[in-house]
Subunit: 597 residues, 2 copies
Amino acid sequence: MITERLQALRKEMLAQNIDAYIIPSSDPHQSEYVADHWKVRAYFSGFTGSAGTLVITQDKAALWTDSRYFLQVEEECANSEVTLYKQTIPHAPEHIPWLCETLENNTVIGIDFRQFSKAQVDYLQEFATPKNIQLQHEATIVDTIWKDRPSMPSQPIEEHLVVFTGETTASKLSKVKNEIQRQKAGFYFFSSLDEIAWLFNIRSNDVDFTPLVTAYALVDIDKTILFCYKERFSEELLQQASELQIEIYAYDTVLEHLPALTANQKVITDDASLNYAIFNAIAERFIFQNSIAQQLKAIKNSVEIEGAKKCILKDGIALTKFFIWLEKEVEKRSISEYEIGEKLTHFRQQQAHYTGNSFAPIVGYKGNGAIIHYSATKEGAALVQNEGILLIDSGGQYKDGTTDITRTIWLGGTPSDTIKMAYTAVLKGYISLEQLQFPLGTTGVQIDAFARMHLWKHGMNYPHGTGHGIGSYGMVHEPAQGFATSTTTSRGSTVHLPNQLTTIEPGYYVTDEFGIRIENIVLSKVTQTTDFGTFLGFEPLTLCYVDTTLINIDSLTKEEVQWLNTYHAFVLQELTPHLTAEEHNWLADKCKAISLS
Amino acid sequence: MITERLQALRKEMLAQNIDAYIIPSSDPHQSEYVADHWKVRAYFSGFTGSAGTLVITQDKAALWTDSRYFLQVEEECANSEVTLYKQTIPHAPEHIPWLCETLENNTVIGIDFRQFSKAQVDYLQEFATPKNIQLQHEATIVDTIWKDRPSMPSQPIEEHLVVFTGETTASKLSKVKNEIQRQKAGFYFFSSLDEIAWLFNIRSNDVDFTPLVTAYALVDIDKTILFCYKERFSEELLQQASELQIEIYAYDTVLEHLPALTANQKVITDDASLNYAIFNAIAERFIFQNSIAQQLKAIKNSVEIEGAKKCILKDGIALTKFFIWLEKEVEKRSISEYEIGEKLTHFRQQQAHYTGNSFAPIVGYKGNGAIIHYSATKEGAALVQNEGILLIDSGGQYKDGTTDITRTIWLGGTPSDTIKMAYTAVLKGYISLEQLQFPLGTTGVQIDAFARMHLWKHGMNYPHGTGHGIGSYGMVHEPAQGFATSTTTSRGSTVHLPNQLTTIEPGYYVTDEFGIRIENIVLSKVTQTTDFGTFLGFEPLTLCYVDTTLINIDSLTKEEVQWLNTYHAFVLQELTPHLTAEEHNWLADKCKAISLS
């Protein structure tokens, strides 16, 4: 199937004199999860992971992705000519120097400009220009081959009520308008679906796992234009929009209208989410900055923080019931990883305001836990038995917030010394970073290593960042703050600020053997102000027990033991009012205090 | 005096229609320490620190420098109109946005292109161009006013023997030539005095504290041209140069010869040290890269590492004798900080191959210890008495290496809880970073915070990086590796590699009260290789006791106590063979093991 598709693409490339065609994972909004219409890379490669780029020439089909996906690619592309090329740095465009090295002088690369940011095209041209390699915008070649390509999203749009958002669209728009005036510009243009959903307090289900609406937005001082199909709005929503001087233009008319609408004026935008087709339309009139919406959105207001606490409580209830079910059920029978994921979803579905999962649950038994973004299929899932180790990373979308939690549990039998040592080092890393106090101005790259130091001590490590921002009924991976080993990602280069929600999730993975990860959502807050400035720290919000069977208790410090006991007392106290007596007893046992011998 | 100089400069600026004149601290080689000829900023501002930029307009004389120098500027510029502007980030060109904001449209900024790198001019133009502010190259304006300006250095040049360097010039040049061929270029051009001294194994004393030779070098496959005054070479050196196909051209003919010498060919260089006047000469033919010499030089060979150990041993002997002298002498009388610095120099002078200090000794008593780059003058020095706290940061140049060490000692009386708490936190920070094991690929910014975490815990911090590379009879601050809080400096952005020499030097400062800093030189080396790659760690080389009077022993961990006892045993063992029995007894007491109560 993949072979046929690649053959068809190559035939078309030959016809159009294209020597290489690059297919990224993105949509025209540089989204992480994309609508089915934009799953072009998956269509041509078979690889379904969320990050990766396919480069096709007449004799190669090179799939570039990072270490999180190496095992997944090996499985999904096993029977095709698609070859894995390993990125050293996640999301880095390492395929570009390689491709331009591979291609002859005076050749042609085809790309759909809509799927590439300006920075990506600039970087590509840096390597292409010296060899006189031309870039050719190709927006139709895929449609020619992909006959049953899914159409653009058309579901109804819902208002995300102010009881959840804590701030009206009018208030958010006024902040954007202040920024336009402060910069003496004419307009602010938004491409990021996540920022548009936040700004207009609208949600829908255009993409998997994230309640976003496919749109562009152009804000000026007097009015606002939302490029989005009008049929998707109710009469009531249209009325509200009208009151806010918001006009609705059809989504696909943005390129046509933008030049005239903004004539002669400066337009502020974030080039990280701007696609190259739109950049081209009014190129030199754009002013680039880190999106004001992204900056505002990253600081949660009190309603959003309360919402996060509410949905995390619901998540905690669901997870407790789920782990009780799992513990009992696996004593009776083997259960597939897929069924476990479905059951976890079932428990979340019982909770108020749940609308779906925030990503595909990762249920990785033994060696599958080492596949960092593993997603068991109904057919291919492993059978989980009453022994060994199980990693579960999952999250929900609730109208009051978005969750993301990982726990690794021991099902039975005797854990190896390696597993216990690694689990303990991962837990110690989580505690070290979560308990750190640091000055305002500190970026993610400066403190990421606190989560790794205990692993490093033993010559161990994990091949992913240590955490990411999380949205409010928005993206599970929300820019910009987080923890990473380099400043090539915003998670490394961004300063942590009070009232942000971020995950801390160190791990440890041994291919084919096991995976360990422990992940909580933490709230950043001011801890003290001294002569040396303001200091911040993290408060854990996630409510779920941490399996103590895998801990080498005597290699914890007094402070670490105290942290664990305090955390478990907090989990038990918060969840108990929502549990039956039997459930409470079960949880109380999981949460019982440990002590050094 | 400063007023007169500024008046004369402003008169000249008016005559030449220059609205603002920028005077940096650099020479045409972007050196840290510069020859007297280039001390232009000090001449016009009175500020003698090593980093800072003076911006002069008709109504302002703005001195931009970083927090290390705030107190020094306040003192040195107290009686002039020179105003301190505080840089938030050391060395960041924060004066440029400020200046271009201050100036009207269509004005003129004068600068001596030789004192600015290409990156600095580019950055300046970024802000100047939108307001149509012109840059005017002014290489003579200073000479007009500074009648007794010191001439260019002319002392004899010495060969730095291979028994010290461990590698011949021929071998080093062949590596540069390989790089030229690898890059298919014609030439490699060097501007950095430190790289030139390393590459040609030559030394002199052109600048303060660093045994450098003022020169440029142009390497091609067949021959090498050294731009340097020929009179400075002995017959023997000229003969050696000739055997290596090295030709000597006069230093000040570089701009005249470079275009013709390199005609039509690509020239690799490092734009960090290249000045804009030279860049302009053959602009588009330069290829920029991090200097190969800098990269090679940062990895010490076994002779250099042995040399470092030898001169550190000599330093340790000198310091021990010095601290014994100080302890006895201060019981008898008050001693000025200046005399203490002189005496320390005296003890270093007794050691073989000592040629001078690697920077002006910092002897800071009580509040003066809080001035991070304090340098007591003969007249203004404080009198040190037999009580309170004293910070001493000093280093020597020996033919076998360069040293840099800081110790903070308690002279007598009862230390406050704050001082003990801070001293203990600084020591714990030193130990945490020095004892860290980390994967190959780790940059300075990722691990700098380990030296700060114990201070951060108490809402404390220090306003400088945590360490820097150090040369081999070269620069005391050698690029590129180190530890810093951001990647705007190479010390933050550079990966640590095996066989590098780096300082670790956390501190704590309370203005007008006291300063604490503990600094050792450490050698980076491979500790283990696992499935997760190669891991590195640091070995402390510096040999000097750490004052234990100021430690809150019971707030150390078992591991920290063990580290201190092991370190002290090592110091005592290495130094003892070189001490008298009396000196040994004194040191044995300072080094005696501590234990938790």
